[in-house]
Amino acid sequence: MKKTFKILICLLLLFLIGVNVYLGRLFLVAQDENNNLHNEIDNINEKIVEIDKSIENLNNTYNNLSNDENNKDLLLEYTNWCHHKEKLEKIMDY
């Protein structure tokens, strides 16, 4: 009786060890996956910081260009040409 009980406990222990090995693998995979995701987030955040810097630089460049008096005149002229071209296109549509 005692022997049978011992065998059963041994089997249970073996089963639990098996379960633990399986769960251990799952644990490692999940941990690895999470680490990868954390790394990915870090990478994206780094990229965002870089892009933010680029956007700031580009904004400054654009503002400098568009605040230049000569460019302001040219922008106005371009807008006017677009308007007049569109107007004449409508007139010429016969």
Binding site: I9, L16, I44, I51, L58, Y62, L74, L88
Partner: protein, 307 residues
Amino acid sequence: MSSQRKTRKNHGLLSIYILTILCVISCAISVFFYIKITSFRNETMVLSTNINNLSNELEVKNNTVNQLNKNIDDLSNIQTKIDEIKEEYYSMVVKAEKDAKEGIAPFKVCFLTFDDGPYRKTTPGLLDILDDNDVLATFFLLGKEDLDDIYKREKSSCHTLANHTYSHNIKYIYSSEDIFIEDVLKNREFLENLLGYRTNIMRFPGGSPQANYSGLDRESIAHKLGEYGYGYIDWTVSSGDGKGNGTSEEYLHNVIDNSSKFNVMSILMHDYSENTIAILDEMIDTLSSQGFIFLPLTYDCQIIKKK
């Protein structure tokens, strides 16, 4: 014997205890793993959502960068874009003039032209009226100092800027062909330095017959100017404001009474004439109601004489 049995029994119990403890420890480890894995799974879901959000943010920012680069590129190449759109516009002007002349267009074409400007006192008001009517004209300009803002406004408003000699000093410029051409080229250089705009249309001060009246050969001058890429134009109808002693009504009538004869016409007026500016609105309205559209001159127009 009994002590040996007792010892063996104790060993048996001990091994059962140990096995039971090991089972309990295994269970605890399993529970630990299970809890950890569940927590990782939840964290994974949150992280995936974060990555999606960050990726979207990254995409939006990338688009912003692309748009900004495009805007900067557009701004850096704005002159090229203006040149392109002007070319397209002027080719439509040429077609409109041709079709109107042949009577196949549902409109007539009027080139409003203003000589001798700019003037600080009158030209801004004249430009306001043209802007209000959304109409383009042609300005035959002289070379004048301290009026840069007006020259620039005429250019950015898309009016055609043309050459009317630098000095408009009739006695001086018609004293020889070379002097005349020199004065035209001086004005071309003046305008080009100021506006980056090279004129290729000119009008003789007083009109091209003035060259002959002054003892020069108009055709010969026109030929020489042609070598510099210039075409010239006189006018179809004059408002008469050049003499400076007429009333607004007379100027209006001078134009309106003659306008019905033409499918394509150029009207001579002057920047300095306050009486012209006073009736310009009415003139534009009346000519519009007669079916005229108002266009700026371009070198390829048939009305421009080329030698």
